[in-house]
């Protein structure tokens, strides 16, 4: 948009709570460089003071302001108004995979419960605290995650099938990968992956990777290697045979 332009845009924002709701339209004057979150703040200050929106850093670092903008799961603080078609209303809806509390705020507490199932970092006994930058680099990708939960929102296992009891979702596969591939970690989380967070339910459609604002290659770099670990540990035919012959205990 040209500098000094005074054009308007229309936001069509979901207003409602867990029981009912409908979209409401708000006219917002555009400012150069404006992002959707700025527009929502303008609406709060000038028309709907009780419009519920989560946000913190407004710099793409905290992952609080997730919503569905024109049907796409996005961080509203990183979605530029001038990147959207402004001749029609911009729809802003809460994340669909989580229960609505009010307006754009959803109940994401389930995610925090999943995290508790994942065994934390545990260094190998007697480890020396030295690491190679190359080994660190490999894991840093996963540790960039800002917990915006957009990947959880778009994952069809959660969004369409609501398998929150059996399935942990992409965010927590990324989290597990960041621990499993930590150069000094000594814990195996394969059993947790298989039984507690149901990694087998993921059929690698890569929807999560597409929406990640941190460009984490969730499917290729986290989920697939973790699936391989589970297979190696539980479904390797050769190992199964060896265990059978030896009568060894299962891992």
């Amino acid at each position: 948009m040209a500098e000094g332009s005074f054009a308007d845009a229309t936001l069509r924002v979901f207003r409602g709570n867990s029981e009912s709701g409908a979209a409401a339209d708000y006219r917002v004057p555009l400012v150069p460089g404006m992002v959707v979150l700025d527009a929502l703040h303008w609406v709060q200050a000038h028309g709907a003071p009780d419009l519920a929106v989560r946000w913190n850093c407004k710099a793409g670092k905290c992952g609080s302001c997730s919503a569905e903008v024109n049907g796409r799961p996005r961080l509203t603080c990183k979605t530029r108004m001038d990147a959207l078609p402004l001749d029609e209303p911009i729809t802003i809806f809460p994340m669909k995979a989580f229960p609505v509390i009010k307006d754009l705020v959803t109940d994401v507490s389930w995610n925090y419960k999943v995290n508790q199932k994942i065994p934390p970092f545990q260094p190998r006994p007697g480890v020396e605290w030295k690491m190679d930058q190359r080994d660190v680099d490999r894991v840093q990708e996963f540790r960039k995650c800002i917990e915006c939960f957009l990947c959880q929102n778009v994952c069809h296992v959660l969004r369409d099938h609501d398998k929150k009891e059996q399935f942990g979702g992409p965010r927590f596969f990324v989290r597990t990968a960041s621990l499993e591939m930590h150069p000094l970690d000594g814990v195996s989380r394969a059993k947790v992956l298989k039984d507690e967070v149901g990694i087998g339910l993921c059929n690698i459609t890569k929807c999560c990777t597409e929406v990640c604002p941190e460009d984490i290659h969730i499917t290729d770099n986290a989920i697939i290697p973790l699936k391989e670990r589970v297979v190696d540990e539980f479904y390797d035919p050769l190992l199964m045979l060896v265990r059978k012959i030896r009568g060894a205990k299962k891992i």
Partner: protein
């Protein structure tokens, strides 16, 4: 009465879940007491997550001559000797162990060729001292602490705002607040309360701070009768984004300069040569912020009123690896590729050196049972904080606060709760709904930000500060009449109506303290008193509530032992 609020009981209640709050929680839990943590946002979203550059700790992994003495000296010099010397000493001595501990809990730092934690240069630090993870050190730190705390078993109350500290006589008895989600009230009974609520930047228009930074903890402590100190010292970070308007104030990490970024004015002149030829871009933040501001004021600013910050002389791969979030931030929000051209930057309100007055060893405030750590507390940074000294502050004094609060709780019985205090706090929260008319809290907030930005900014003078005080008085009156629309269900307008009171309290404390200190020192610059004044170098302003009125008293700077004095007299040997 009980039907109107729920009650939780903990030995130690921590308000705030950033680095200081979580570190305090981990330590208190290790002492075997029951710990609760209350935070305004979701867990893991606190301001610590935005810290970029690194954690200052004299580990001497890169510059082997570094040690705690050099870190102590740098911190004191950066703070213009207004620091609490004992805090600066403890901080410098304990920071390396706190970083190692973080690593043992799973944090992954960038490495040296030997496989040790890598350290980078930063403003005011004589040696390469900042342990870092690219430019997202804060995220690594908060995630590590969060997971450690959660798996150890702290109780976390997310999206809950505390509006009042409850007292039993002179001592702390707990806290009253509301759930942001449903608007219901909640009472926490506790033997010890630790305030780790961070800073106050939301009272200014151009700030790197999030909505949470409304000075709640300082206002809570002040209202409960605790001392605030050094409130005139507000840090303006030299480099915030200035264009486009939507991103104004967003932080541009000092790591850009630490990695070799150069500042220029519109004429292409590397102007830091005129302000600090020795340290140049890596001078202390107060100096760099004033320099940029002066360049702009004297007509040498960029098109949008800032300075150019250029890192494009470094290889593009290097920039993307060491400053990934800056690269994306500018590309996505400002259409600038920082590997190819300069950024436009200008000062942004960033950090509060002042805060709740605490004891150096125990982090205890002037009220029995009340503790404070991190940005909400005062002492370590004096008149100006060095970059990187905040994350280490959170770890060192978060731990100390957690330890002392737990010890205090073990020595104490659970104080009774006075229902009349709770009733009053609840009435205060409900009042804005009952007013027939009155201003919107958003309008008042916008006006407050303009007042603080234009009258209590980087450069101050008596006339401006006096005007600010009278404006604040009017804003206080408007806030007392502010009206809230809608219900108690997740209502940001209602939340802001309360946060405004906290902001106004700290804004007034800043303004009164700034008016009283007739000198320029660190982050406090008086146009009408431009030089250092030795007499002021020996005293602090303390802000305290007396008979309902904000009162200022002076208190002497703590006398340093001779061996430390000697240390400060020595010249540092910079590499």
């Amino acid at each position: 009465m009980n039907s109107k609020y729920e009650v939780h009981e903990h030995d130690v209640l921590i308000i705030g879940a950033g680095g200081a709050g979580l570190r305090a929680a981990i330590e208190a839990l290790a002492q075997g007491v029951r710990v609760g943590v209350v935070c305004k946002s979701l867990l893991g979203k606190a301001h610590t997550v935005m810290a970029e550059g690194g954690i200052a700790a004299a580990m001497a992994n890169v510059d082997t001559s570094d040690d705690w003495r050099a870190h102590f000296r740098d911190t004191m010099r950066g703070g213009k000797f207004l620091n609490n010397w004992r805090m600066a000493q403890l901080h410098a001595q304990e920071a390396p162990e706190r970083v190692r501990e973080l690593e043992q809990w799973g944090a992954l730092f960038d490495r040296t060729e030997n496989g040790d934690i890598l350290q980078r240069a930063f403003g005011g630090h004589t040696f390469k001292r900042l342990c870092h993870v690219g430019d997202r050190t804060g995220l690594e730190m908060i995630r590590t602490l969060q997971d450690r705390g959660v798996h150890l078993g702290i109780d976390v109350y997310m999206e809950c705002t505390i509006t009042r500290l409850l007292k039993d006589g002179d001592r702390i008895a707990g806290a009253f607040g509301y759930w942001r989600e449903q608007g219901r009230f909640v009472v926490f009974r506790a033997k010890s309360v630790i305030i780790c609520t961070g800073g106050i930047g939301k009272a200014w228009k151009i700030t790197s701070n999030s909505w949470e930074y409304t000075g709640d903890g300082m206002a809570l402590a002040y209202d409960a009768g605790a001392d605030l100190m050094d409130m005139e010292f507000v840090q303006f970070h030299p480099t915030g984004m200035v264009w486009p308007p939507g991103v104004q104030g967003i932080l541009v990490t000092e790591a850009v300069r630490g990695e070799g970024g150069v500042l220029r004015n519109k004429d292409g002149e590397r102007f830091m040569e005129r302000y600090d030829p020795k340290k140049m871009e890596l001078s202390t933040r107060d100096v760099v912020a004033r320099s940029i501001y002066t360049e702009v004021r004297e007509g040498r600013g960029t098109e949008h009123g800032g300075a150019y910050l250029d890192i494009s002389q470094k290889p593009a791969d290097y920039v993307k690896r060491k400053l990934p979030s800056m690269y994306h931030q500018f590309l996505e929000l400002a259409d600038v590729d920082i590997t190819k051209g300069p950024m436009e930057v200008g000062p942004t309100c960033h950090y509060m050196m002042g805060g709740i007055r605490v004891d150096a060893e125990t982090a205890q405030a002037s009220i029995p049972g009340l503790f404070a750590a991190g940005e909400a507390a005062v002492g370590l940074h004096g008149a100006n904080r060095l970059g990187g000294n905040s994350l280490s502050d959170l770890l060192v004094f978060g731990r100390r606060a957690g330890l002392s609060a737990a010890e205090h709780a073990k020595r104490t019985d659970m104080p009774p709760i006075d229902p009349s205090q709770i009733e009053e706090a609840a009435q205060q929260m409900l009042a804005p709904f009952e007013r027939p008319d009155g201003d919107s809290p958003y309008a008042i907030h916008e006006d407050l930000q303009s007042v603080m930005q234009s009258l209590v900014g980087i450069f101050r003078d008596e006339a401006d500060l006096r005007r600010a005080l009278s404006e604040l008085e009017q804003l206080n009156a408007r806030t007392a009449r502010a009206r809230v629309e809608g219900s108690r269900l997740f209502n940001p307008g209602w939340h802001l109506a309360w946060d405004l009171r906290s902001m106004l309290t700290v804004a007034e404390a800043v303004t009164r303290s700034a008016l009283t200190r007739r000198e320029s020192r660190g982050a406090h610059s008086r146009i009408d008193y431009p030089g250092l004044d030795d007499a002021w170098g020996k005293k602090h302003n303390v802000v305290v509530k007396k008979a309902g009125t904000m009162t200022l008293v002076e208190t002497p700077v703590l006398e340093m032992p001779d061996d430390l004095k000697q240390l400060l007299a020595e010249e540092s040997v910079a590499k």
